[in-house]
């Protein structure tokens, strides 16, 4: 993409930013309701910036640990549920109970069981991220082309190799998509959990700054965590494309 084209594509965002800046500068809206964009960017490098990045890093760390833990569990559970009847009998009803349940309902439970620190937040995000991954792996493994299975069987593939070398790659696109959903959900749970109650993390910081009336800081926090969420999604899409490049 050429520079001119990129500018043309980004122009609507720039127009909005310009409108925002003018509205705040000219006093059209109160600076307490909407701080000028420039003062928000100033807050990104100002006195509170150290706090901002520290708390963002705490939040992202929690999310990362939970997602990395949820991927192997979720993929294994999903494939086994699709593959073995006993596992399905055992786990499917649990899954069907958890699936429609809004995972934020577990926030109070994690508070009374595990407190308000890292363990409680990571558990919350882990459970939330697990469900879409299991569902994706389950659907992916169920939809595997039967001819592939027959071929592999007739060539004498063992059950383990069948799962590892046929089912898992065939289900990969759906699994990657499920993980994408899980990442989006993880960000919601990180921020929601920390907004409700926490000692640190970006949600906690946004809340504190809002209550203290440090609005440029609050807006800066929102912008930073939004940018991180956006970047994480784009990075995952790029990684997925790379991982499934062999399909083309």
């Amino acid at each position: 993409m050429t520079a001119a084209l990129m500018l043309w594509r980004a122009l609507p965002v720039l127009i909005l930013a310009a409108l925002w800046e003018t509205a705040a500068r000219t006093g059209l809206v109160s600076e307490h309701a909407l701080p000028a964009l420039s003062s928000i960017f100033a807050a990104l490098g100002g006195l509170s910036a150290g706090d901002l990045y520290y708390h963002t890093a705490r939040s992202v760390g929690r999310g990362l640990i939970a997602i990395v833990a949820a991927i192997p569990f979720g993929v294994a559970a999903g494939i086994l549920i699709a593959w073995y009847l006993p596992v399905r009998v055992l786990l499917n009803p649990l899954l069907q109970c958890l699936y429609p349940m809004p995972k934020v309902a577990l926030i109070p439970l994690t508070i009374i069981w595990l407190g308000i620190g890292d363990v409680s937040k990571i558990t919350l995000i882990f459970v939330g991220a697990l469900v879409p991954i299991v569902m994706a792996a389950f659907n992916g493994a169920r939809g595997v082309d039967r001819t592939l299975l027959w071929t592999a069987r007739s060539l004498g593939a063992s059950e383990v190799r069948l799962l590892w070398e046929v089912v898992l790659p065939a289900a990969l696109p759906e699994i990657l998509n499920g993980i994408r959903t899980a990442i989006a959900l993880a960000f919601i749970l990180i921020v929601a959990g920390e907004l409700v109650i926490a000692n640190d993390g970006i949600g906690h910081m946004i809340n504190m700054w809002g209550e203290a009336g440090h609005y440029p800081g609050m807006f800066a926090g929102v912008i930073v965590i939004s940018a991180v969420g956006f970047a994480a999604d784009r990075a995952w899409v790029a990684l997925s494309a790379w991982l499934t490049a062999w399909r083309q």
Binding site: P12, V89, P93, L195
Partner: protein, 278 residues
Amino acid sequence: MAQSIEAVTELSRPADRGERLRRFVDTFGPFITVGAILLAWELMARQQIVTPFLLPAMTTVAARIGDDLISGRLLLDVALTLYRAFAGFAIAAVVGVALGLLIARFVTVRWFFDPIVSFALPMPKIALMPIFMLWFGLFDMSKILMVAFSLSFQIVISTWSAAHSVEKELVWSARSLGASDRATLWEVVLPAALPQILTGLQVALPLALIVALVTEMIMGGGGLGDTMLQSARYVDSPGVFAGIVEIGIVGYGCIAAMGLIRKRLLAWHQESSNGGTM
């Protein structure tokens, strides 16, 4: 060694039995397992394997839900939460579907909204909650708008791709028969895109409930989320567990209702296409 389910072929006898077993498990398995879980829960709590604070007995929680139901608090909470979730959902559906159709139809609209929507879509929009509190206060207004804002972008994208994937031949035929822009939209594009639009709405609905609950937990003002967080604050664990069960049932009810509505709307859709072949 466990035989894989998919291994069986349709024609042979053991396959037949496998199929029947599978159907039986799919129908009754859930009840058996859920029953076993409830029983294990009750036994674990009665035997005091964990303290009643960490895991109140199932019967205690059930009694609590019964109390909430009789006192009317449960109905009030459910009504408040559903009101906020569905008001936000309705706003998002109207705005999202309209904007999605406009984006699919007009190049200028697409140019303006494409970068904004694709930037806002993966954002954790819940982070804007303190800003919404600042702008719209602590009452229903900010909660409903937060729900609407969280869902809109997703609905825009799904509507846009739905309208985009409508068969071009349908549109061309309508045009060549002299259909106006408005007639094409209402009578060709919208019905043809309806299944996919509904899928988008179905995906968005659980999120409406999630956001409504979080706003209640943070801002208070009644509703299931508020009541549950109060229980957690007063270390009232039966209340927390009752809240989880209640929210689970409400969530399940919403998803089931949405499925029924979809069946209704699409029954019409399929009927018309069946009629067309005659």
